[in-house]
Amino acid sequence: MSTPAAEHAPGRAEADGTAARARALTKAYGSGETTVLALDSVDVDIARGSFTAVMGPSGSGKSTLMHCLAGLDTVSAGQVWLGDTEITGLKDRDLTRLRRDRIGFMFQSFNLIPTLNAVENITLPMDIAGQKPDQKWLDQVIDTLGLRDRLKHRPTQLSGGQQQRVACARALASRPELIFADEPTGNLDSRAGLEVLSFLRQAVDDLGQTVVMVTHDPGAAAHSDLVLFLADGRIVDEMAQPTAEAVLERMRLFSGGQTQAPSPGTPGDPDAPSLTKPTDED
């Protein structure tokens, strides 16, 4: 878990080792008086072959950041690069192609197309692109995720955890430059959640992938190499080699710090987020 990401970077790693990058990234909603800044001039670098978690309270802009980095949302100002490609200003068609070929996605829920079985879901992005999946790699991903005997099942025949594993396999299958996971454990019980997180970890460590995960669960964030803390549309802090406790501590500081004095001495806070408590935020 503590292995430096760069050592496992896939062969096509570039010299600077950055999978995605944003400069002065700003996203505003509304106009005039009512403008809300979801992202306020954010600079961020996602290191290739690393597992990055983005944390922050509701409305901090963490999902917006992910959406902008992934080419799902347009930006108001600033620039975003995926590898060497500047994606700000790209047309919808190019963005779609970029997502299809170079980015993998996992969402909190509703990750799979209900009419397709597991293996069809996994290869869908490549099928859409009209590419043949790399069978060796595909087998490796499927075996790593333990989906071999579930391939012909439809999503409704799979448990929530299995569904997320299929989503994870889909994100990995085309060997994208970057995998974005938006609250991937949000709808799972703790055991299934842990499983998915360890697979994401494995994807980085053993398969050399780059993962960015949005979460507000400190326990989930603890699986990452680096945690970025967002508040009010800015990156306010980061933490390398995080642990759940340290992240929780840091979160308290931010969530409380905005409106009132920090109150570090409340370990039994029932509102504290945790891996075992699914949330529906975002």
């Binding site: 779609t96 997502r99 299809r100 197309i113 209900p114 009419t115 397709l116 099928d127 859409i128």
Partner: protein, 855 residues
């Protein structure tokens, strides 16, 4: 609860839009047809009431006949003087009015209305009841002068000073137009030519002392009914028929009514199709809305709403939809009626929208249809909504109803289908027309119902086959679209059912009409031996001079005349048959091939004898040698001996039951002055058919109403007549398809809404907009083609059965129009593409992020 219902109705108003449109269409046709027929009826009632004489004396008509003999029924003109002598009669006038003529201008172009309305020549006798007044020129004074109505003068470009040729029954004559008469009332579309009284009697009836009716004006203080009975006492009612103004108006309106009824029934047919297809659309909409709201309904149940309340809530929504749809439909119906009235005006019938009548029955029927349709269509979905368990509020079950077993449908569908199939088999094997036809009707209804019920069961197997090549052809997009179509068989089935109904109709009718055409072709080949047939377009007879001129044409060899005569025949079993018999010249065998069971043409056409259909004769106890009493119009009576029995495939063609014919001398003796309906012409020896044709056409140039036809033309004529029927069916189909397209649009649009998150996900992982549009388009095509295949399959079976019924009528050929069928399948794919345009556009415009976050 009502508040919740109203909120829900308003929240879903976009999704109910197309359902409302279906209701609007159905109601519009119902309302439109009622308003139109009410308006026309009222207009003509008024017209006839104001133009009918207080008492009218007509010659008594013994029986009605479908094919006119060309002779007008007359009474002596001197009768007017006798009637004038009756106490209480202020004035009695002998009218002359005939319709058995054609009027041609100096360029040999017909002046008759193109709409099929009659050309009426009558004597100019202005009273305060006349529907016209002289607006320019002067009244006709003697032979060779005439007035023309202003509308005809206008549309046919005829003015004062122009010369017209009138082909009347006694002969042709020329008139100069000396004045124009303008309608002061509604013009029913006819062309009117006015002559002075003496000329009219001489030229139109062939005798200066005859008239067609007597118009009587009552002295003040004498009621119509009283006067009628006084005149009846004076002149007797054996030979005359007396009518008061009210009775005359009623019978005149009734005559016109036949034509108007056709329009009314066509419109109601449209309404019926709209209702039938609309029901599917509405059922689907409500099913989908309820499926989408399962959790919401579960929540209502969990909060304490009982089943009845849930059901009532859904039905209230349906009633609201029905109310809105009916109201808009009523408005659209008024628009439709206005359009029809305009159309009638274009045909020369001067109706104005200002006279529009909206009777109480119109809104009542409109709301009854609109509310009835939505209520019935929403009832099943409402029941389904009521059984949503409170647990549904908590469960994550996505769409209710998808997985419910179709066992009940399978059983009911199989039973109804088996019954329908049995009825159709019975129809195909029955040997009497009436049994066969009623079994056909039963079988058609049952198999249609069975297919609608079992439709969802057929979705999987049929679409697997239809869309089987999709994954190979269109890759993952094809796979997704095929799976989406298979996703909810009920929905796919119901959506396709709307299209199926229309196409089944068309399939059946096109097989039937192709078979009829082929049968007629074969019969024409088999029976028509003449080189040419000279005939009016609608079998209306023509003057004798035509026969003389044709005979005198260079290159004409044999001419065989055909003349129709109304007859009433008493059969040995007591049956009195009123029909139209034909009279022929002796050498019939040279122009037609008649198959005889007994006897031959020579015997049949010999004086005092007749030939008739062998089957009809057998059914009513007549044999060769039987002597049958025969009555003719105008009181002629005789006895004719059956001399030959024919064994034709269509002895009862042209509506002449019994297939009776005899020598033309018999016709001339008992109905003198009858006109020929057709001339069968052979070229003389040494004249080629190609040379004869232009010669005949030159001869007939002054008679634009007459056509020269050879076998091929004759086939074309029959084909065109069948085509009219087919056009009507196609128009019905067009409407059915429009609503079916609305149904597919509706289903797709609601599906797109339902699958918002899925679409968002697909877009996120890299499905391009174009691919997404293609996915929806392909799904739509699969549904449409599924409906087409089912409909055409059903239609083919129906068509074959209809052909079996026709075969009993002698139309023995079976022809399946494969070209049309392939065209319809291809067309249905196009329909699918068109239906998918908007939903696909909408889906592709969806914001990816909003779609993913969609609840």
């Amino acid at each position: 609860m009502l508040k919740a219902t109203l909120r829900s109705f308003l929240a879903h108003k976009g999704r109910l839009l197309l359902s409302a449109l279906a209701v609007v269409l159905s109601v519009a046709f119902v309302a439109g047809s009622l308003i139109f027929s009410d308006t026309v009826t009222r207009t003509f009632d008024r017209l006839f009431a104001s133009t009918s004489a207080d008492v009218t004396v007509n010659p008594r008509k013994d029986f009605e006949s479908s094919v006119p003999s060309g002779a007008a029924l007359t009474l002596p003109a001197s009768l007017a003087r006798r009637v004038a002598g009756v106490d209480g009669v202020e004035d009695a006038h002998a009218d002359t009015s005939v319709e058995n003529l054609s009027v041609v201008d100096d360029r040999n172009k017909s002046v008759s209305p193109t709409s099929g309305a009659p050309t009426i020549a009558t004597d100019w006798y202005l009273t305060d009841r006349s529907p016209v007044k002289l607006t320019s020129g002067h009244v006709p004074r003697g032979d060779g002068e005439a007035l023309l109505d202003a509308d005809t003068a206008d549309s046919k470009d005829v003015g004062i000073g122009d010369t017209l040729t009138v082909h009347a029954q006694p002969g042709s004559f020329k008139v100069r137009i000396v004045g124009i008469a303008t309608f002061t009332t509604t013009n029913p579309g006819a062309a009117l030519l006015f002559l002075d009284t003496k000329t009219a009697q001489t030229r139109l009836l062939g005798a200066p002392d005859r008239a067609t009716s007597i118009s009587v004006t009552a002295a003040s203080g004498v009621s119509d009914a009283e006067l009628k009975s006084r005149i009846a006492r004076q002149i007797g009612t054996k030979d005359f028929e007396l009518k008061t103004a009210a009775e005359q108006a009623e019978s005149a309106a009734k005559q016109l009514g036949g034509f108007l009824d056709v329009i009314k029934y066509v419109m109601l047919g449209f309404a019926g199709i709209a209702v039938l297809v609309g029901v599917f659309l509405i059922v689907n909409t409500f099913s989908m809305l309820i499926a989408q709201r399962t959790r919401e309904l579960g929540l209502l149940r969990a909060l304490g709403a009982d089943r009845r309340q849930v059901r009532r809530s859904v039905l209230t929504e349906a009633v609201l939809l029905g109310l809105v749809g009916s109201t808009l439909g009523l408005a659209a119906g008024i628009g439709l009626a206005t359009g029809l009235i305009q159309l009638m005006s274009a045909f020369g019938m001067n109706l104005t929208s200002a006279d529009m009548v909206v009777g109480w029955a119109t809104p009542v029927s409109s709301y009854a249809v609109g509310l009835g349709v939505t209520f019935v269509a929403a009832y099943l979905p409402a029941r389904r909504a009521a059984v949503v368990s409170p647990m549904a509020a908590l469960s994550d079950a996505e769409i209710a109803g998808v997985g419910r077993p179709l066992r009940v449908r399978a059983v009911v569908g199989a039973i109804v289908g088996a019954l329908g199939g049995a009825a159709l088999v019975g129809c195909a094997t029955a040997d009497t027309t009436s049994t066969s036809a009623s079994l056909l009707g039963l079988g058609v209804v049952l198999t249609l119902v069975a297919t609608v019920i079992a439709g969802p069961l057929l979705v999987r197997p049929v679409i697997r086959v239809l869309g089987g090549a999709f994954p190979a052809l269109f890759g993952p997009v094809g796979l997704l679209s095929q799976r989406n179509a298979l996703r909810n068989p009920r929905r796919t089935g119901a959506t396709a059912a709307a299209l199926m109904v229309g196409l089944a109709l068309v399939g059946g009718m096109s097989v039937a009409s192709a078979s009829m055409t082929k049968s007629f072709d074969q019969q024409i080949d088999k029976t028509l031996g003449a080189d040419f047939v000279v005939q009016n377009d609608n079998f209306v007879p023509f003057p004798k001079e035509v026969t003389d001129k044709v005979r005198a044409t260079d290159g004409v060899g044999l001419v065989v005349r055909q003349r129709f005569v109304p007859v009433a025949v008493r059969f040995p079993d007591g049956k009195r048959l009123e029909t139209t018999a034909a009279g022929y010249d002796a050498r019939l065998d040279d122009v037609a091939h008649v198959a005889y069971a007994r006897g031959d043409t020579a015997a049949a056409l010999a004086d005092g004898h007749l030939a008739m259909d062998a089957d009809y004769a057998k059914d009513h106890g007549a044999r060769v040698g039987s002597v049958l009493p025969v009555e003719f119009p105008d009181g002629g009576r005789t006895e004719l001996t059956v001399a030959a029995l024919t064994d034709q495939d269509t002895a009862e063609g042209f509506g002449t039951r019994g297939g009776i014919y005899f020598g033309i001398a018999v016709a001339e003796r008992y109905v003198p002055g009858g006109q020929e309906s057709a001339l069968y012409v052979n070229a003389s020896d040494g004249t080629s058919v190609d040379r004869l044709r232009p010669a005949l056409e030159r001869t007939l140039a002054p008679y634009p109403q007459l056509k020269v036809r050879d076998q091929a033309d004759y086939k074309e004529l029959i084909r065109n007549q069948i085509a009219v029927l087919l056009y009507l069916v196609y128009a019905l189909l067009g409407l059915a398809i429009v609503i079916a397209v609305l149904g597919v649009v509706n289903t797709l649009a609601l599906s797109v809404v339902e699958r918002t998150r899925e679409i968002g996900l697909l877009r996120a992982i890299g499905l391009s907009r174009r691919q997404l549009r293609r996915m929806i388009r392909l799904e739509s095509v699969v549904i449409a083609v599924f409906g087409a295949v089912l409909g055409l399959g059903l239609g083919l079976v129906w068509g074959v059965c209809i052909q079996r019924v026709l075969a009993l009528q002698g139309m023995k050929a079976l022809e399946i129009p494969w070209g049309t069928i392939v065209l319809v399948v291809v067309g249905s794919a196009v329909v699918g593409i068109v239906a998918a345009l908007l939903p696909a556009l909408r889906a592709s415009r969806m914001n990816v992020l909003a779609a993913i976050a969609h609840e």
